[in-house]
């Protein structure tokens, strides 16, 4: 067994955490290598978080900076919140991968370079005038030069694979090497390769040989002083899987379909980074899931709305450009007051922007991006696994309040992973569609009829009466409707009443969502950090770091963005200052200022990547410093901590 303990090395040194970044060309299989390493680590019981980072082009020119694809994974023996600020180990498959990632590599980090790829041509493509492996420019790092391509080609040649094809297995060599270095067993990866490539024995054999060669190289080359071990994290007992946000959204929607008894219909159009939800849901037809790849974004949401009219759970998935196109139909859904879930996996904008990079740029779009007074509930996921819960919550609100709901996730959550303790599905709360079954209005002559806009007194929701029930025939549409009967009505007083009713219905949801909980460990904080969505991990980690320095800081993280939790105003006003980090130019902070007249301080970044914990920590310290200066008027700069995540 290749996983036997090594004999010619010291025992593995124990680390509490490590951040590894696999980087290579888009075609080098770095996402796959990272993903398999992650799975092995998950099976070992580490806590972990991942950050895939790839270009928008499928295959940018080989060897160039534009084509560099990377996968960062943070594994630890304790609870962690982010994929790590800076890698401890960089696997660089070529000079471009090295150059693209050097800026984030802290001194002392380890570089494992595929030395075969550092030829003149590749060095030139990456913009190196001298070979950095030879010119001493990497002296701050521990550099290991490994001939990955040539060894891989050699071992695969024995399996009868042509050198050109054999070279493609070098990602498995790298994976094998890193698996040895961090004492990950290969069993899971071997099983995966055998299943994945069962129909292509030659490729299977090549990948297996490359994987094992990498592992053996680590063991026998005496290049490395020792291997390392990151022990299992004390996770809560239970069954775990490692999920991406997009998978969790898809599973949450399936779960919502099951607990509501509503057949799931997804109408959508392929768009990065949302398409994987379509891919996942299209597999699950035995759950009664129907997926419809429409001719465009408008048809995707239109079909979902049509399905909702027919009594299905109508869902559409998209990203920013698609949300633009769906706006009119979402407005129609608001007017029709039908359940509809719109999942927006945010990416860098405006326009095509940064399709594969993350951003939180669509909050105000979700909030206001329709003509007329057109409020709807907005929920946002904080972590990859939280996407499951938020999908269920979006469906609950949509069905209960007969309204479109926008679920905001983003590219970071969509592709990032974390271990998720599986819920007991039997205990998931039921969602009652509450279909109308009988007429609800009596005419003056005593006969009964159905009025589609008679409202529930508590929720202000109207009845949902899909076609097929005799006696409930009715017509609805985008024209303003008469309160109650739903007949077309143009009079101003009725329009105002309906406008206020629609707004009150959404505002009233505040009474039906959890209160804002604050993580204020010692209870004495003056600074409250308020975030929403995928900044959760970085903010929580940044807050931990500030606390480790002896400061008291509170953290509140919003899942419901419209309406806000009912106590949010009180929470905000109970702190001296409110710091709002966002991966946009300050959208939540505007909403908070407008809604609560609090002097929220916006802290923003829009670089297509998540915040680093250190950045949040620095912003917190800066805010604490500003408070201190405000109190005693002494000066102060931006304190920055060099430490990694605690």
């Amino acid at each position: 067994m290749v996983t036997d303990t090594t004999t010619n090395h010291e025992p593995p040194r124990v680390l509490d955490r490590v951040v590894i970044r696999f980087a290579g060309d888009s075609g080098d299989g770095m996402q796959l290598a990272g993903d398999r390493f992650t799975t092995s680590s998950a099976l070992l019981g580490n806590d972990l978080a991942t950050l895939p980072d790839f270009p928008a082009e499928i295959r940018a020119p080989a060897g160039t900076l534009a084509g560099v694809s990377a996968f960062q994974v943070h594994i630890s023996d304790h609870d962690i919140l982010t994929p790590g600020d800076d890698p401890n180990v960089l696997v660089a498959m070529n000079p471009a991968a090295l150059r693209a990632n050097l800026p984030t590599l802290p001194p002392g980090a380890t570089i494992i370079a595929n030395v075969d790829a550092f030829d003149d041509r590749n060095l030139a493509k990456a913009g190196f005038e001298e070979n950095p492996l030879a010119d001493g420019s990497l002296s701050a790092y521990t550099v290991y030069e490994v001939p990955m391509t040539s060894i891989t080609t050699e071992v695969c040649k024995e399996a009868g694979v042509k050198p050109r094809d054999a070279e493609r297995s070098k990602n498995f060599f790298a994976l094998g090497l890193i698996s040895w270095l961090y004492t990950r067993p290969l069993d899971a990866t071997i099983a995966w390769i055998e299943a994945r490539f069962s129909s292509n024995p030659m490729v299977k054999e090549a990948n297996l040989r490359a994987l094992k060669a990498g592992f053996h190289f680590g063991e026998t080359a005496e290049l490395f002083e020792s291997s390392y071990e990151v022990r299992p994290a004390p996770l809560e007992p239970g069954e775990y899987v490692n999920v991406t946000g997009n998978t969790a959204v898809a599973w949450g929607l399936v779960a919502a379909s099951q607990v509501s008894g509503l057949p799931l219909f997804l109408g959508t159009y392929p768009i990065t980074p949302a398409s994987d939800i379509l891919h996942e849901l299209s597999k699950h037809k035995n759950f009664g899931v129907r997926t419809f790849q429409a001719e465009d974004e408008i048809a995707g949401v239109g079909a979902a709305l049509g399905a909702a009219f027919g009594g299905a759970l109508g869902v559409t998935t998209t990203s920013g450009p698609g949300l633009d196109l769906k706006a009119e139909t979402i407005g129609l859904a608001i007017s029709l007051e039908l359940p509809l879930v719109v999942v927006d996996i945010q990416r860098g904008g405006p326009s095509t922007g940064l399709p594969t990079k993350t951003e939180q740029g669509d909050l105000l779009h979700a909030m206001y991006g329709r003509h007329g007074e057109a409020p709807l509930p907005i929920v946002a996921a904080s972590t990859p696994s939280h996407c499951f819960d938020v999908a269920l919550e979006a469906v609950r609100l949509a069905v209960k309040y007969r309204t479109p709901v926008i679920l905001l996730s983003d590219g970071y959550l969509a592709n990032g992973t974390e271990p998720w303790r599986l819920p007991d599905v039997e205990r998931l709360p039921r969602i009652d569609p509450g279909f109308a079954t009988a007429p609800n209005h009596t005419r003056p002559d005593g006969t009964e009829e159905f009025w589609p806009y008679v409202r529930d007194e508590t929720t202000l929701a109207r009845p949902w009466a899909p076609p097929g029930v005799a006696g409930l025939e009715h017509r609805i549409g985008g024209l303003e409707k008469s309160d109650g009967s739903g007949n077309v009505a143009y009079d101003g007083a009725n329009h105002e009443r309906m406008t206020r009713l629609r707004a009150a219905k959404i505002a009233g949801i505040a009474a039906d969502i959890p209160l804002m909980e604050v993580d204020d460990e010692q209870g004495g904080a003056t600074v409250l950090v308020v975030g929403w969505g995928s900044t959760y991990g970085a903010i929580a980690a940044g807050v931990r770091r500030a606390r480790a320095l002896g400061y008291q800081v509170a953290h509140a993280h919003l899942t419901h963005l419209n309406p806000f939790p009912p106590n949010l105003g009180d929470v905000l006003r109970s702190y001296h200052s409110v710091l709002v980090p966002e991966v946009n130019l300050g959208q939540l902070s505007r909403l908070l200022r407008a809604e609560y007249l609090v002097d929220a301080v916006s802290f923003t970044k829009v670089q297509g990547v998540p915040f680093r914990a250190a950045e949040i920590e620095a912003a917190i310290l800066h805010q604490l410093d500003a408070e201190a200066r405000r109190d005693d008027d002494t000066g102060g700069g931006w304190p920055v901590s060099p430490a990694g995540e605690q």
């Binding site: 775990y240 899987v241 779960a255 429409a294 399905a307 009219f309 139909t329 077309v488």
Partner: protein, 344 residues
């Protein structure tokens, strides 16, 4: 639900049952009234139920149609009715879904949705009210207006080649394509009956007079005095001929084109025999372009009626077959379907 009542069966409903309590608000004299009447008179004959019937529309004069039908109805947004209807028909194969649209709604802003609904063969009955003008926005040219049309938005005449709706539908792989006109209730009812009976997407173009903004657009062919000379009825299995005595006809030329002839000038056996079920849509396409506009002899009736798998039924089939093969989905198993591990 049955598609058609037994022949001779007494209808269980009357026109009144299919008429909503809403006041019809089209302009007096609008062709839409006669189309509404034809539909309301046909439905009792089809043996279908009100609760299983849905009328869905976009925006435009024609799009008010659902409000006047005592069925389920949805008046949606401009051009999107075929897309919305797709979601409904794909999830509710038990329903009869009618889409009512106009030339602006379905050929301009909604062109994309129309062609894809036809291509996918969604089980919809699509009635396109073609009046060759924008009525609701008060008289701009439409994608079916003739070249050089002078309207409010084209005071020097339109520069655009119009769509031929039937050619477009045939090009979009439609399985049922027909044309009728608002001056002939019987022909409308017969055409709608056929369209309703067809499984899959049925496309019916209705020449419809807008007496306010484009009055008389079709008068040269649909006027009572002109019909026999100007309308070419298509009857499956019959030679295509028209005229008061059937003295005119259509022949297929050796070069593959079709043209109008005097029957007296040819052998009657040379007349083109209409075949709705021909797989190749080429001849139907040629018939759709026999006239250059509603001022030349124009074919009406069913141009094409072929069978092809219907999208919603196929979608249901995949769901059912997958469920039989894999068993009904188990949520807990789904969540475990990645590699799961247990922490004790």
């Amino acid at each position: 639900m049955t598609d058609l009542a037994e022949p001779g069966a007494i209808p269980l409903t009357t026109r009144k049952d299919w008429t909503s309590d809403q006041e019809v608000r089209w302009c007096p004299g609008c062709g839409d009234y006669s189309i509404l009447a034809a539909v309301q008179m046909l439905l009792p004959e089809l043996g279908v139920s009100r609760e299983s019937t849905v009328f869905l529309s976009g925006i435009g004069c024609a799009a008010r149609f659902p409000y006047y039908m005592n069925t389920y109805g949805l008046h949606s947004i401009h051009g999107r009715a075929p897309a919305i209807a797709t979601g409904l028909a794909a999830t509710r194969p038990d329903l009869d879904v009618w889409v009512v649209t106009g030339d602006g709604d379905s050929l301009s802003i909604g062109g994309n949705h129309l062609i894809h609904a036809l291509r996918r063969n969604i089980n919809l009955t699509i009635l396109l009210f073609n009046n060759q003008i924008y009525g609701l926005t008060k008289g701009q040219y439409s994608p079916t207006s003739e070249v050089a049309k002078v309207t409010k938005s084209t005071p020097f005449g339109s520069l655009e080649q119009p769509f031929n709706p039937l050619s477009l539908a045939l090009g979009a792989e439609a399985t049922f394509v027909a044309r009728t006109h608002d001056m002939d209730r019987k022909h409308m009812m017969e055409t709608f009956r056929r369209a309703h009976a067809h499984r899959g997407a049925s496309f019916v173009e209705i020449y419809q007079n807008c007496n306010v903004f484009n009055d008389g657009a079709f008068a040269q062919i649909t006027g009572k005095d002109h019909r026999s000379e100007m309308l070419v009825p298509l009857v499956h299995g019959e030679p295509i001929r028209y005229g008061p005595e059937g003295e005119h006809g259509v022949v297929l030329r050796p070069d593959g084109s079709i043209s109008l002839v005097e029957v007296a000038d040819v052998n009657e056996s040379e007349l083109l025999v209409h075949d709705e079920h021909r797989e190749n849509p080429g001849l139907a396409f040629q018939l759709s372009r026999l006239s250059r506009g509603p001022f030349e002899p124009t074919p009406i009736g069913v141009f094409r009626d072929v069978q092809r798998a219907e999208y919603g039924a196929e979608m249901s089939r995949q769901v059912e077959e997958t469920t039989v093969r894999k068993g009904p989905g188990n949520l807990q198993d789904l969540l475990r379907s990645g590699s799961s591990w247990t922490v004790s």
